[in-house]
Symmetry: none
Subunit: 195 residues, 4 copies
DNA sequence: TATGAATGAGAGTTCATTCAT
DNA sequence: TATGAATGAACTCTCATTCAT
């Protein structure tokens, strides 16, 4: 563990924070760089001392999101009780993606990734890591007979993530319904995985 | 069945078609009205004879999407075999939302609905109708003992839609995985619904 | 002679006039599009209805300059008295390139042509036409024994143009000297061409 | 000959070299100070420890160009064979101004001099010195009967310089033609100067 | 001497919309 | 219905320069 040779300038984080606030409120394309620097309390030109451009800010945010996933990935990867780990993951990841800020930012990044290769790169890498970790947990559970093992674990992992993330997305437009049954999803999925 | 008192001007459909093409390729905000009229082969000003503005085109498209849902809704509503109907719905609706054009347009409309009340209105109405129809099918199946009935049917309906639509969305970035197991989703969901 | 199928919008000429005025006063790169539209009395956006961009205006101006050369080229091409024609050309072309507006615009276009292919294209074409016409006149004079004919006429044509245009350029910085001897150049060149 | 009391900081020359490289490639106005410091390998702020600003660099370059002219001026001024000296000057100065780096830098300085008094100052002084020296040589040749003497020597000097420099300029856009007849210019001019 | 963050005016261009024809 | 010129605010980004360290 050596000292970071490239410490992040505090101003850079202020810019990111201001950008996130604006992206959440107005969306990426509806946010102007002037909105960001105005909120960050810096001059327009100074933004370009810290980021190559507006797009680079979103890439940076996507990378930060990727780091937040690492907590989930780490725990999925090192388990000796796949069923309990999956239950925990469903509960906590559902809560994570249902946080409006995460859901909103996520969909901004996802839609931008659809046409912007720079964003797609980061976004795709993050997703692949999470899918692989979750599939690993399912495989482990399949081998030990806890889960049904006839289906490709990666496909199941995708479905689980789709369900959780889809629910997070939906919570943006129908906030009332989402918290009705926070654990319904878990029991539903675990039921579907019964051997 | 009477004749439509407000026949749609063919030019209007040409505009919509041009708009859809552009929205799919570049996204709603990245598409300019000049792109649309250019592709439609009409003049800039003439667009405003058919639509109040750019937003109105997206609203119109969202309404068309809603009509396409009616086929699904109708069949979900009038069934005497909930299990077979659900199986059909999962297969066909999964295929529908996995068509790139539907998935892409859907996410464009969804993200716009997040901040644009006019779009949110149409989008929310469409979704509510589908959820209600699917929940009705589940309720019917619950009463006749085909499905587990302990969970709120609306919540289950949401989860099913989330899973299917989430998979459609994912197919945009990972097209390879999506068609690996088209029926895996169905068996997974039906398994989860076992009483 | 058919009617022009693409009549030039009067506004386009107003823009060009405003642009020329500004380019003369401040130079091409020192002139902003806002300067141009301000002087032309039109809105900023409207400029882009008539020109693709700032560069296109300079290309258009270069093309107009090319048309003005046609008068010289025509007369050089159709002569039966090469000596008198050359004398006329020297006098009149020297006067033409010594007009500050022509000299200034010319150097703006020339320097821009050095690095801008779009400008270089038009500029190079114009120059080639003039060189060819002048060389043709010299060739004709060489055949009839009026001029020395041992040197490549194109090289001589270049030298003559260099001298005249160089003098025009110089008149910009040293206006006092240029009109001292307007005919000195002519006699100098004709002397040099003696067989 | 005493030691220079103000030795030039080596960093200053590095900056000038980087600036020249950029001015040649992109032109003065198209070159940013960031381009210069980047190429020079120094920091942005440090440039201002050596030069008052961007303009001061161009002034400095113009002054260096002036020093290079001194070789020509010295030899023109101290001759006892005006014809041979003129012949040498035409050959060598033509070669000097035809070097792309000299021609390009020269036109950059000239065009900037048209509107920038600080540059015009240095540029005009240099030119005046060269004109005076060349005119002196012509006067001397006129008195001794080697050259025609009826024309103002300064005007002839200007014409000669125009021709040579104009040819240098032209060589930038038509490099093929220029080296066809390197001595044609000399014989042409000397022919024109015959008494 | 050296650094690079900070400034804010200004760059060229695009935007959705209006309106006279 | 159809046209495209006209509008001006908004867009992202670059500019030469200053200044605290």
């Amino acid at each position: 563990m050596s000292a970071d040779p490239h410490p992040i300038h505090p101003r850079k984080l202020e810019i990111v924070h201001a950008a996130v606030t604006n992206f959440l409120e107005k969306g990426y394309h509806q946010t102007g760089v002037r909105d960001i620097v105005g909120q960050a309390g810096i001059s327009l030109g100074n933004l370009y001392n810290h980021f190559k451009g507006k797009e680079a800010i979103l890439v940076f945010i996507a990378e930060i999101e990727g780091q937040e996933l690492s907590d989930f990935i780490d725990r999925l990867s090192s388990t000796d009780d796949p069923r309990a780990t999956l239950q925990w993951f469903i509960t906590d990841y559902a809560a994570y993606v249902a946080l409006p800020e995460n859901a909103l930012l996520g969909v901004e990044i996802l839609t931008e990734a659809l046409r912007n290769p720079a964003i797609a790169d980061v976004f795709g890498r993050n997703r692949d890591r999470l899918i692989a970790a979750l599939a690993g947990c399912l495989t482990q559970g399949g081998k030990s007979g806890v889960f049904a093992s006839q289906i490709d674990p990666r496909v199941v992992a995708c479905m689980i993530l789709d369900t959780l993330e889809g629910q997070g997305l939906r919570s943006l437009s129908l906030p009332a319904h989402s918290n009705l049954a926070p654990d319904a999803i878990g029991s539903f999925i675990l039921n579907g995985l019964k051997p």
